[in-house]
C-alpha cells in the first residue's frame, strides 16, 4: 500500500499548518491537601509532520505536559490557565464527549510501559484495530489487513501472524512496536510518545527507534517525543524543548541545540557524561566465579561462567536483558544455588545456598538494587533502614547507632535532617544514596550494584557514580557493576565482562574491551549506544544494512 493513499484522512491539510498550539498552559496537582503548580506557563507550537522532543529530568512535568496536549489531566491534576488549540478546536473548552472522539483516533498516546498498557486477555490485532473500528475510519474488514501492513512497516517478525498472539507471547521491544501500530492504526494527526524506549535495552532500542521514525515520517504524523535521554531525542526530533521545574528552559532546532546550547542547565545536561575513571589493574583477587552453571528450573541460564573481581576495583558486567547478568549476581549472593562450579571469596569457597552462609560472609557481600523505590521498606524511616545492618552485624544500638547513621549520611552527602524521613519523601537520587549507605553500614568488601543508575536522570546518575568512586577510594571496596549502559561503564569500571545469552563473551581491562578488535557481539552492543549526533541512527542503519 502506498503511503499517500494511507494518509488520505487528512486530505486538504497541507504540511506546515499549525496543528497544536498551547499558550501559557498552567497545570496544578493536588497533594497533601493543597494544589501545587506542576506546569508554570509553557507554550508549544507544533506544525503538521513535525516532531518535537521534550526533555527534562523526572518531576519536570514532561508527562503532564504531554497529556495536556491531548486536553487531558490525570486524576488529581487540573489545567488552570492557558489555551490548547488542536486543529482549531479549543481543547480546554471542549466537552469530554467530543474530546473522547479525538482521543485514540486523531491524537494517540504511546505509553512507556507497553506491557502494562495492553489488555492481557485480548489478541494483539484486536487491540490494534480497536480505535480505528470504534470511530469507523475504514471498513472493519480492511482494518485487519491495514494492521498487518503496519506490522510490516514496523519490521515486526512474521507480520501476518503476530497479531493473533497475546501480549505475553511477544518481547518487550515487539510489544512497544505493536503499541506504535495501535496508535498509528486510525492515522492520527498527532502522536505522543512518552518514554517509549526507556524500558528497552540498547540493541532493541535501536530497532524500535528506527521503525518508529520510519513510520512517523511515512505518514507525515506530528509527534511529541518525551524522554530524558538526549541521545535518543537527537535521533527523533526536529526541534527540542528543555523543561525544568515545570517551566521551559530553552527551545531550539535539534542541530543547533546540540551544537550550541544557550542555557547553563542545558549545557550541564550535555556535558554530564564526559567523565571517565582511569582504569587500574588489580592483583589481589577477592571474588571469583569458577565455571558456574545455573538454571531456573529446567531452563539453563548461565553456561560455564568465569568472572574474577580484584580488591578495590570495579568490574562492569554488560549485556542486554536476558544475558544472565542479574542471574550471576543471584548466584554470588546465594539466592540461586549454582548447578556446577563455585563462588570463591577471599580464597575459600562460599556455601552454595544462602542458608549455609555465616553472618560474617553475608556481611562482606552487599547489594544495591536498580529500583531504590522497592529496595527500601516504605514504612521504615531512613534511620531505621540504615540502622538495621548496624544493629544486626555490628551490634550497635541506641546513641552509638545514631552517631554512626549520621556519619554514614554525611558520607553520602546528605544531612542529618534526613534521619527520620520516609522513602516516599525522598527524590530518586536520594533514595539510591540511602541504599548505598545501607550497604556501606555493613562494612562490606564487595558491593554488587545491579543497574543502580539506570532509573535516574543523567545529572543525578553522575552524582551517584562519583559518590561510588570516592567511597571506593576511601574504603577499598570492590564493585561488581551490572549495567547495560556503556556510558556508565566508561565512567566507573576498571575491567569489563561482556555477557551474551548466558555466556561470557570476553573479560578484560576497559581499554582492551572498548577498543578494536571486537568480537561480533561486543561490536553490536557498542554500536547500538545512541550518540549525541542527529545523524547517528541514519548512519548506523545504512552501515548495518
Amino acid at each position: 500500500m502506498d503511503a499517500d493513499e494511507m494518509n488520505n484522512n487528512q486530505s486538504g491539510a497541507a504540511a506546515g499548518d499549525v496543528l497544536l498550539e498551547m499558550r501559557d498552559v498552567h497545570i496544578e496537582g493536588f497533594s497533601d491537601e493543597q494544589w501545587h503548580p506542576i506546569i508554570k506557563g509553557v507554550d508549544i507550537t507544533l506544525k503538521r509532520g513535525e516532531i518535537m522532543g521534550l526533555i527534562g529530568e523526572s518531576g519536570a512535568g514532561k508527562s503532564t505536559l504531554g497529556l495536556a496536549a491531548m486536553g487531558f489531566a490525570r486524576p488529581g491534576c487540573r489545567i488552570t490557565k492557558g489555551t490548547i488549540r488542536f486543529d482549531n478546536q479549543e481543547l480546554t473548552e471542549l466537552p469530554k464527549k467530543n474530546k473522547r472522539e479525538l482521543w485514540g483516533t486523531r491524537i494517540a498516546y504511546v505509553a512507556q510501559s507497553a506491557a502494562a498498557s495492553f489488555n492481557p486477555a485480548h489478541r494483539l490485532i484486536d487491540q490494534t484495530v480497536e480505535a480505528a473500528n470504534r470511530s469507523q475510519i475504514r471498513p472493519v474488514a480492511e482494518s485487519r489487513s491495514d494492521a498487518i501492513d503496519l506490522f510490516k512497516a514496523l519490521q515486526l517478525p512474521s507480520p501476518d501472524t503476530i497479531g493473533s498472539r497475546y501480549p505475553h507471547q511477544v518481547s518487550g521491544g515487539q510489544l512497544q512496536r505493536v503499541m506504535t501500530a495501535m496508535a498509528m492504526s486510525p492515522r492520527p494527526d498527532l502522536i505522543i510518545f512518552d518514554e517509549p524506549t526507556t524500558a528497552l535495552d540498547v540493541t532493541t532500542q535501536v530497532e524500535v527507534l528506527a521503525s518508529m521514525r520510519k513510520i512517523v515520517e511515512e505518514f507525515h504524523t506530528a509527534a511529541i517525543y518525551i524522554t530524558h535521554d538526549l541521545a535518543v531525542v537527537a535521533q527523533m526530533a526536529d526541534f527540542i524543548k528543555v523543561l525544568r521545574y515545570g517551566d521551559e528552559v530553552e527551545e531550539a532546532p535539534t542541530r543547533s541545540m546540540l551544537s550550541a546550547p544557550q542555557q547553563e542547565y542545558t549545557k550541564s545536561l550535555w556535558s554530564v557524561r564526559d567523565f571517565e575513571k582511569p582504569e587500574e589493574q588489580g592483583d589481589d583477587v577477592v571474588l571469583s566465579l569458577d565455571g558456574i552453571d545455573a538454571a531456573y528450573g529446567k531452563t539453563k541460564v548461565l553456561h560455564d561462567i568465569n568472572i574474577s573481581l580484584t580488591r578495590g576495583k570495579t568490574v562492569a558486567v554488560v549485556g542486554e536483558s536476558g544475558s544472565g547478568k542479574s542471574t550471576a549476581a543471584r548466584v554470588i549472593t546465594g539466592l540461586l544455588p549454582p548447578g556446577k562450579g563455585q563462588v570463591v571469596f577471599n580464597g575459600e569457597a562460599l556455601p552454595r545456598e544462602l542458608k549455609g552462609r555465616s553472618k560474617e560472609q553475608l556481611q562482606r557481600i552487599q547489594m544495591i538494587y536498580q529500583m531504590a523505590d522497592t529496595a527500601m521498606n516504605p514504612r521504615q524511616t531512613v534511620g531505621q533502614i540504615i540502622g538495621r545492618p548496624l544493629d544486626f552485624y555490628l551490634g550497635l544500638t541506641g546513641a552509638a547507632q545514631e552517631k554512626r547513621v549520621l556519619e554514614l549520611l554525611k558520607m553520602i552527602e546528605l544531612d542529618e535532617s534526613f534521619i527520620d524521613r520516609l522513602p516516599s519523601e525522598l527524590s530518586g537520587g536520594q533514595k539510591q544514596r540511602i541504599c548505598i549507605a545501607r550497604a556501606l553500614a555493613a562494612e562490606p568488601e564487595i558491593i554488587i550494584c545491579d543497574e543502580v543508575t539506570s532509573a535516574l536522570d543523567q545529572i543525578v546518575q553522575e552524582g551517584i557514580l562519583k559518590l561510588l568512586l570516592s567511597l571506593q577510594k576511601e574504603f577499598g571496596i570492590s564493585y561488581l557493576f551490572i549495567t547495560h549502559d556503556i556510558a556508565t561503564v566508561k565512567a566507573i569500571s576498571d575491567e569489563i565482562v561482556v555477557m551474551f545469552q548466558g555466556k561470557v563473551v570476553e573479560q578484560g581491562l576497559k581499554s582492551e574491551i572498548l577498543n578494536p578488535p571486537y568480537p561480533e557481539y561486543t561490536k553490536l552492543l557498542l554500536s547500538s549506544v545512541p550518540e549525541m549526533d542527529p545523524d547517528w541512527l541514519t548512519n548506523l542503519l545504512s552501515e548495518r544494512a
Binding site: 493536588f30 497533594s31 497533601d32 491537601e33 518531576g59 486524576p75 488529581g76 487540573r78 525544568r244 521545574y245 528552559v249 542555557q263 547553563e264 542547565y265 550541564s268 549472593t333 546465594g334 539466592l335 544462602l354 552462609r357 553472618k359 553475608l362 552487599q366 547489594m367 538494587y369 529500583m371 522497592t374 529496595a375 527500601m376 521498606n377 516504605p378 514504612r379 521504615q380 538495621r388 545492618p389 544486626f392 552485624y393 553520602i412 552527602e413 546528605l414 544531612d415 534526613f418 524521613r421 516516599s424 519523601e425 525522598l426 527524590s427 537520587g429 536520594q430 544514596r433 545501607r438 555493613a442 545529572i459 543525578v460 552524582g463 559518590l467
Partner: protein, 306 residues
Amino acid sequence: MNTQYENYSAAAEVGAVRKRRSRLERIWIDLKKAPLSAWFGMIVVFAYMVVALFAPLIAPYGEAEVFPEANAAWSSQFIFGTDQIGRDMLSRLIYGARNTMGIALMTTLLSFLIGGSLGLIAAISRGWLDQLLSRSVDVLMAIPSLIFALMLLSIFGSTVTNLVIIIALLDSTRVFRLTRSVAVNVVVMDYVEAAKLRGEGLGWIMRKELLPNIMPPLVAEFGLRFSFVFLTIAALSFLGVGIQPPTADWGSMVRDNANLIQFAGIDFRIGLTPLLPAAAIALLTVAVNFVVDWFLHKTSGIRDEH
C-alpha cells in the same frame, strides 16, 4: 537557574517532601473527608462499644434477673417488656451486646492470629509448605462452614471456649487466603530480598518487612470478618448450639421470643419484641460494613476527581 548545576548537592534535590503532620492531625483530615455513611457507621459502632463496656451501669436490671410476669407487654417498668420466663428485654439486649460482641471479637482476633501468621509463613517460604497449607485450607473451605461448625459443636459440646476456637479455626481459612495473596506481592519486593540477604530470620521478615505493608487490607478484612463471625455466632445461638442460657445473647433471644411475633395482631409492640435483637444484629453489621467500605476506598489509592 544558571548556578543550579554548579552548586549541585544531593541534599537539595527536590523530593516529595511533605509537611510533617502528627498522626492525630492526619486522622482528623481523613475524618473530615469521610462520607456520611462512614460517620453513621462509626457513631453506631462507638455507641455499641459504650453499651457493651458499661452494660452493668446502663442496664436497669440484672442479666438473669427473673420477674414474675413472663412475656409482659411494653410498659414504663419494662420498656421492651419481658421474655418468656420474665427477664427484662432491655437489660438482656444491653448485656447481649457485651456477650455477643465480646465473643465475636475474641474469635476474630484468634482467627487473624492463626490465619495471618500461617498466611505470612506460606507467602515467605513458598514451596511444599505453601502447597501443604494452601491445599489443606482448600479442603476446609470446601466444607460448608455452618454445617461443619454445627457438627463440631455437637461433638465437643457448646462451651464458649469451644465456640471461639471452632469458629476461629474455620474462619482463619479465609484470613489465610487473603494474607497470603497480599503478602506474595510484597515478598517479591527488593527490600524483602535485601532482608533475606542480610540474614534476617523469618520472624523479623514477617513482623517488620511484611506486616506493616499489608495492614490496610487486613484491617478492612478484620471488620468484615467480625461481622461474619458475629452473624455466625448469632445463627448458631439461634439454632441452640451457640451461647448457652442464662447468658444473654441476641441470637438466642430471637429464637426464644420468636413465637411472640404471632401476637402482633393483638399488641403491635409485643410482635416487635423478637425483632429487636435481630435489628441490633443487623444495625451493627451494616455499620461495620459502612466503616470498612470507607476505609477500603481510602487506602485503595483511588483518587477522587477534583
